[in-house]
Amino acid sequence: MKKTFKGLYLALIVFFLYLPIFTLMVLSFNEGKTMNAWVGFSLKWYEEMFNNRQIMEALGNTFTIAFWSATIATIVGTIACIGINAMGEKKKSIIMGLNNIPLLNADIVIGISLMLTFLMFGISLNYGTVLFSHITFCLPYVILSVMPKFKQLQNLTYEAALDLGATPVYAFFKVVLPDIMPGIISGFLLAFTMSVDDFVITHFTRGAGINTISTLIYSQVKVGIRPTLYALSTVIFVIVLVVLIAINIMSNKKKEKNI
């Protein structure tokens, strides 16, 4: 009795979480334009989606912005961790406090404050302003992922490398980097997904001509949803599913190896 109740509870929440996603999936294959009736199976909305220049451009923008902002944030953040690690406790805690501000602040405040700053200094809103804003809000995630790895790091191996005649740069790449790599990778992935998922900050810092998937959906939902968006939603869901399963399998394999 108790077991069936538990199972039912899990099933209900799964139903709640997936009902909207699967509804869009089914509708994306519906030949009719409305959601009221099933007319017949068709792939025409997928064809229209891939031929829709706006959607393809927005997809391209979303992923290039995510890639560059995550890459730059990962490099700047990892290098910063070396510096922060060399600081005294007091300085360190001040910087970690500053690092927390974007994490705790509301997206709408970050977006508006960045927009006002760009305009105040005469910088017109474009791809670059969106990229800069994304780097800014991705950095804290990289710092939070990489910093703990530095704490676990044993300085002895680095010093041993130096004693054995390695240059500091060589020792960093040979000894330190492999140890902090898991933190760097998870920081990059976190930054990437945060960037892809962002709507609010992009909404305020983009110029008129730039759209990401989020801002495009927002403007289209306001005028009326077209079934091409159902197709887009299905494609994104499948991509996310495949990527996450691949990451899971890869990290599981790694764990087995380590054991």
């Binding site: 899990l10 509804t23 700047v76 070396i82 922060i84 509301a106 804003s133």
Partner: protein, 271 residues
């Protein structure tokens, strides 16, 4: 000074230009009028009926959504923790997966489901039940918030629950506690950091959203986020928008201070 510390230079430049200066700029706009003269009118305008109503509605809906998410997520976390399924990781994955999908698409999906001639009403009509008319009401906005932010509550609560040492729970039973006592004296206090970060991660975005209320509220549910957004995109009164943002920030800080107070251990894990 150690030369190594210089490596944090680029990061500090980003913090300065991307966080500290913008906060200064928004405070400057919020405390000046169009001509640049100092004024507190933008802040005080929160007291006008339109703005006060929006703020109260935002606080109310955010609170309701947070409580619903907590009530849904905590039992779920307990069930997942106790489940003896071999694929525990996979089960958790299923509940977290929607989080990775674009939240605007997920919100849009509810519009498709809830609309007057939407999917749910078609199904209800087909089996002879009365139509559900919650689109463009606060109820639809709460539904959207719960749907969008539920995974953010599930993840930290589950992470806190699985960290609890099984021996502690067994010890409580051995000492004669019943299930309710174990729950209230052992499990809930030990999972408090997870609950606190879950509550923060649901409450703040719910309080400040404008997209969910715009899509599911159809312009009829005006939250403080909508008012602020309109000042920047349609009314173009940046000073007023900035002033209201400052007020909203104060409310975020107050609510986080309140939430933190419950976190006796003081180690809410953010991610």
């Amino acid at each position: 000074m150690n030369k190594k510390q210089l490596f944090s230079g680029p990061f500090l430049a980003f913090i300065l230009c991307g966080t500290l200066v913008p906060l200064g700029v928004i405070a400057f706009y919020g405390l000046t009028d169009r001509s640049g003269a100092f004024t507190v009118d933008n802040i005080l305008s929160i007291a006008t009926p339109e703005h006060a109503e929006a703020l109260l509605l935002s606080l109310g809906l955010a609170l309701i959504s947070t409580v619903i998410c907590l009530l849904l997520a905590f039992p779920l976390g307990l069930i997942l923790k106790d489940s003896k399924l071999g694929q525990k990781g996979f089960m958790v994955f299923i509940f977290i997966l929607p989080m990775w999908m674009n939240f605007l698409l997920r919100t849009m999906a509810w519009q498709v489901l809830l609309e007057k001639n939407g999917v749910i009403n078609n199904v209800l009509g087909a089996i002879g039940l009365p139509a559900l008319e919650i689109i463009n009401t606060p109820a639809a906005v709460v539904l959207g918030m719960v749907y969008d932010y539920l995974p953010f509550m599930i993840l930290p609560i589950y992470n806190a629950l699985i960290k609890i040492d099984k021996n502690v729970i067994e010890a409580a039973y051995d000492l004669g506690a019943n299930y309710r006592q174990v729950l209230s004296k052992v499990i809930i206090p030990l999972s408090l950091p997870g609950i606190v970060s879950g509550v923060t991660m649901v409450f703040v975005p719910s309080l400040t959203t404008f997209a969910v209320s715009n899509i599911l509220g159809g312009g009829k549910v005006n939250l403080i986020g909508n008012i602020i957004e309109q000042e920047f995109t349609t009314s173009f009164n940046w000073n007023l928008g900035a002033g209201l943002s400052l007020v909203m920030m104060i409310f975020i800080i107050i609510s986080m201070a309140l939430i933190e107070k419950f976190d006796r251990n003081g180690e809410g894990n953010l991610i």
